[in-house]
Symmetry: C2
Subunit: 238 residues, 2 copies
């Protein structure tokens, strides 16, 4: 029984890895499509998202079926439940990459941003890609140092996000209304992507170590603190 | 065994209801704090959010413990898993209400928006409150007609969100940079709140009817279609 459970858990792990790779490819292409106004790449991201959604459904089925047949208890049970949440979060990361691609497609043949804002958004995009690649590597290698690196990279992402607000709120920055709207939305999507990456890293740490206390920090609370930093409050009053 | 399971499911249902009521109160106060620049109300929403987070953790514990002890299979198992997701989504709705409150607090003693944008955001807020109240009522009464009403109200929310883009993109609209940023973020928060409301309504429908096919539509895909309408693409090029 235990052996079968272990095999099934490995299959679940394989499917999570496939999902992570697709999610990583989505954010790589989406950020590049934004940088270079590449319509083909943007369309690829948009089209490929349904594949990520399919895997999420398959993972769901597999997880619930595993619960029904193997009836794991204690830590094993928590691991399966955690894997299901991991999958939901990665699906959401794929969605956010698709949102970036929508903006790239909507502005084609122009790029969505220029000047200082373009620089910041490109850096944010690079951080998001870094987070995604490390999530894949974390699943592949189970090297828990990567989880810490993901948190550090997300901190950089948050700092860049705050910088982006300084630019949009600066009247001296020449920005069209569309560029302003895009900057706010793109910044938000990328910041959320990083937050989800951190949440995923913590869950994977739990899957590896079984250390619930350390890994399953309440995501809402964790994200909440960050949202306060970036959302409405710290953007300066005019 | 079945009787105990039923009782435990009822307790889970009670906790979901408590959570829904807190989430509803949060959006009511948050939208009012935005309308009237009421700092006290905004602070109340921000402080109360940790309570919603606590209930989510408690529900998680209860759900996982129920899975471990009762080892439900088939539909019962899916119901428990679905309840856990419902709880995660309502926690997120609480977070979004808190984001609104952050903006209200950040702009105090001013209101965040004026003129046409204020009207649209107020209407969006009213729709969000309507969605939340109906979610509570749906949990209380299990009247599935409410699920349809929630979807219709979310459609109105999406329409208003598109209107909000027309305003921010209209150079003739006198808006400060801060008002532009706030309008984009508030619109996004409220639109997401509605989407989550629809997702919750579908899951509750499933909890009531056991009709998986109808209720557990992939949330990501569902939301994705909406995001395309509102995110980057349909906002007119400049």
């Amino acid at each position: 029984m235990r052996e079968i459970f272990k095999q099934e858990m490995e299959q679940l792990g394989e499917e999570l890895l496939t999902m992570a790779r697709l999610m990583c490819s989505a954010i790589e292409k989406a950020t590049q499509s934004l940088e270079t106004a590449d319509l083909t790449l943007a369309e690829e991201v948009i089209d490929a998202d349904s594949h990520i959604d399919e895997i999420e459904r398959s993972l769901d089925e597999r997880g619930v079926s595993l619960l029904a047949r193997q009836q794991p208890v204690a830590t094993d049970l928590r691991i399966v439940v955690s894997a299901l949440r991991l999958s939901a979060t990665m699906e959401r990361m794929g969605d956010l990459a698709r949102h970036l691609a929508y903006v790239a497609r909507g502005r084609y043949p122009e790029v969505a941003s220029t000047g200082r804002m373009q620089q910041i958004l490109q850096q944010m995009g690079q951080q998001a890609v870094k987070v995604a690649r490390q999530v894949v590597e974390l699943l592949e290698t189970r090297d828990l140092n990567l989880a810490e690196k993901i948190e550090a990279d997300d901190d950089v992402l948050d700092r860049l996000h705050r910088e982006s607000f300084q630019v949009v709120l600066d009247d001296d920055e020449q920005l069209t209304r569309q560029q302003l709207v895009d900057a706010v939305l793109l910044g938000r999507y990328l910041e959320r992507f990083g937050d989800h990456g951190v949440s995923v890293a913590r869950r994977i740490s739990f899957l590896v170590t079984g250390d619930l206390q350390n890994a399953v920090v309440n995501t809402g609370t964790m994200l909440g603190l960050k949202d306060e930093e970036t959302g409405g409050k710290q953007t300066t009053r005019q």
